[in-house]
């Protein structure tokens, strides 16, 4: 079949997504979950809404929802590579796990994320046997560099920041390659938020500019040099710099705490993608739905963990992400 017959506007897919959006948990469900007295009551409420299928344990339910999301997307979009942007970070987390596992000569079950672009076992094997060329092309160099570095110095933190940076760069590249405005916006906000978090943590722990230059991924929304200079000067300078960027509204949250800033950034992405609810054509609505589901699953995870640890309803509410619907 020639390319011209393929539904480039994803009309069928978007129509299915409209239905799937109906099953997203809305604010009122989260209110009930927050007010629930314990995890068991939360699970009952979630099960009522069809969340988690037949599973009745938190991990099982969350895992089921994740795989259900990607099964639906695989059914609707013939070429899943456009959504690599959402999964690449898991690949790089798998790479970190593989390097540490191999260097420490351990075999820890369950540390690899299955929701990744490349097969986690391929990454594990390639790193263990030092056959870096078998890794996905963009990963080969950083894998070799970090593996050798870890073996030589045992500096896990340095490896982590280098791999995190490579992940952010890969996300930006994948989004730009897709030419999909929604994915590009998502990637820029994600990388920008990650850079700011790194800069703040580095500032709080007194890291130098060399560390920051290694750790920060270039982001079109930020001037890395100015960010580094501001981070080295202190919180006030950092906030003053951010006032001139797309993250100016996040400054108040950043002054509160990193967790509040993180929540603000997640909410900002969901808010920016909210307009896709009224778009009937293209990958935009599908991308927005994936993100909405990922955020929903993350919110449920935060909520269940907080309930398990006996957090108050008020402190849980502060951590809940904005819902798409």
């Amino acid at each position: 079949m020639s390319m011209s017959y393929i539904d480039k506007n994803y009309i069928y897919a978007v129509s299915r997504i409209r239905y799937a959006e109906l099953r997203l948990l809305d604010g009122s469900v989260f209110d009930r979950l927050i007010e629930a007295k314990d995890v068991a009551e939360c699970i009952t409420i979630l099960a009522e809404k069809g969340f988690g299928g037949e599973y009745r344990d938190p991990e099982g339910m969350l895992g089921y929802e994740k795989s259900r999301l990607w099964e639906l997307i695989a059914e609707l979009v013939p070429d899943m590579s456009v959504f690599d942007v959402f999964r690449l970070q898991n690949d790089y987390s798998n790479l970190k796990a593989a390097i540490k596992e191999s260097a420490l000569d351990l075999d820890i079950p369950g540390i690899y994320s299955q929701e990744a672009v490349a097969d986690p076992m391929l990454i594990k094997q390639a790193v263990r046997e030092r056959r870096y060329k078998e890794l996905p092309l963009e990963m080969a160099d950083i894998a070799e560099l970090c593996h050798e570095l870890f073996l030589r110095t045992g500096d896990g933190q340095l490896c982590d920041i280098m791999i995190d940076r490579a992940a952010m760069e890969a996300i930006l590249r994948a989004a730009e390659a897709s030419k999909e405005p929604v994915l590009i916006e998502y990637s820029r906000l994600t990388v920008g938020a990650s850079d700011i978090k790194i800069a703040v943590r580095a500032m709080l722990t007194g890291k130098d500019d060399e560390f920051l230059r290694r750790a920060l991924a270039p982001c079109p929304l930020l001037d890395t040099e100015l960010l580094i200079r501001a981070a080295l000067s202190g919180m006030d300078e950092l906030c003053a710099y951010l006032m001139n960027t797309d993250f100016k509204d996040a400054v108040t949250e950043l002054r509160k705490s990193l967790a509040a800033f993180e929540k603000y950034c997640d909410d900002l992405i969901i808010e920016r993608l909210g307009t896709q609810k009224w778009n009937s054509f293209g990958l935009g609505p599908i991308a927005a739905y994936i993100l909405a589901r990922e955020t929903e699953i993350r919110s449920v995870r935060i909520l269940l963990t907080a309930k398990q640890n006996g957090f108050s309803a008020e402190s849980i509410r502060e951590r809940m992400r904005r819902t798409y619907v």
Binding site: V14, S15, R16, Y19, S280
Partner: protein, 160 residues
Amino acid sequence: MENMGLLFALCGAALSAAMAGIGSAIGVGIAGRAASGVVTEDPNQFSKVLVLQLLPGTQGIYGLLIAFITLTQIGIMGGDSNVSLQEGLLYLVSCLPMAFGGLFSAVAQGKCSVSAIGLVAKKPDQFGKAMIFPAMVETYAILSLLISILSIFGVSGLGL
């Protein structure tokens, strides 16, 4: 050369049927994809989304009507087929509103139907309102039809 008038008039009829038909095919086609998506999830919505899918199909019928009237007027369907060059060109121009109006309005209506089908997917009880939005686009197809019909009958009344 003496049949050039007939040739131009026939071109008009052909353009009106073909272009409006192409528009409707595209419109009904894209609306059908959206409708399939809804029926996959909820087969009970079949009749509602079918109506919305068919809305962009009317332009093809209007185009056919204009082609049919033109063929009758120029005698292709029987009778005297003596059409002067001037008359033939006038028939061709008369068919153009339906040809272009039909093509573009059907595609636009199809896209609007896709969105309306999305609305029905989310709120099936709002079907009445969902139907009004694509039906609005129909206005412009009807205006094109009206001008084409008036022009064709006007040309035959000139007696050129």
